[in-house]
Amino acid sequence: MQAIYVQVLALILMSLGIATALCRRNVFFVLMGVELALNAVNLSIIGFSKTFAEVASVTGQIIPLFTIAVAAAEACVGLAIIILIFRNQDSADVDNYSNMRG
């Protein structure tokens, strides 16, 4: 097993995540695409951290913990905003969300 396999997997997941977030019209899929891209970044950081020794490798394994925490906060606020907009517009289509009127 080589280190580049992990990076290739992270690249595939990142591309799929960005494609999901930008192509799909449903707002839930946009959120899931963002989460997938964040996960791919975590995987890439951990894969690279294993190419270092001692302190640097521990640092590389701690950064994903902060990424996960920030992603949890992002999902929390994002879903609250989705609840609000869904009540007003009664639609999951992101194209309907283009006006910011409440």
Binding site: C23, N39, S49, T51, S57, V58, Q61
Partner: protein
């Protein structure tokens, strides 16, 4: 060799479930596929020698974030919105540009030379905790970041609670409306 076989199995599951997220129509099925992707990614973290990150991934992502997302899909009944198209014309350009970026990055990856370091540290609970909560003056100061992340999570929770309420109750007119509902 055995690690490679495990990695291939987990990677195939992860990529297959991500493709399922991309192509499926129902948001609930997509969220279940997302949970499976996260579980297989947690397995890959354990395989790479970071079991603590894998456990946190299962607890926070698969356990908390995706459960919240699933719950909201169920509460809002978002799947009844059948008028929303899956893709539109812009999607072709987005796909092409994503493929171009992926191709460029893979070229860079193929030309870089890096491999696993034999002296790398296995990120178990003890090592991670020692590094995170090293409060000595000569330490690395990660505990301050932990405090900052705690504040971020707290403010996110407060924001979510305030946003998800129907109306602000301190407003006297709205308070009356809220009683009616």
């Amino acid at each position: 060799m055995l690690a490679l076989i495990y990695f291939i199995i987990l990677a195939v599951v992860a990529v297959g479930c991500s493709l399922c997220i991309f192509f499926t129509k129902h948001p609930l099925y997509a969220s279940i596929a997302m949970v499976t992707t996260m579980l297989s990614l947690a397995g890959i973290y354990g395989l790479l020698g970071s079991p603590f990150v894998g456990v946190v991934q299962i607890m926070v992502y698969a356990g908390a974030v995706m459960t919240l997302l699933m719950f909201i899909i169920l509460v809002l009944n978002g799947s009844r919105d059948t008028r929303t198209k899956r893709f539109d014309k812009v999607s072709i350009f987005v796909l092409l540009s994503v493929l171009a970026v992926a191709a460029l990055t893979s070229i860079v990856l193929c030309h870089a030379s890096f491999d696993f370091n034999p002296d790398t540290v296995r990120g178990g609970v003890d090592v991670t905790a020692h590094t995170l909560f090293d409060v000595s003056a000569s330490g690395n100061g990660y505990y301050l970041l932990v405090l900052a992340v705690g504040l971020v999570l707290l403010s996110a929770m407060a924001t979510a609670v305030i946003l998800a309420r129907k109306r602000i109750a301190s407003d006297p007119e709205n308070a009356k409306l809220e009683e009616v509902h």
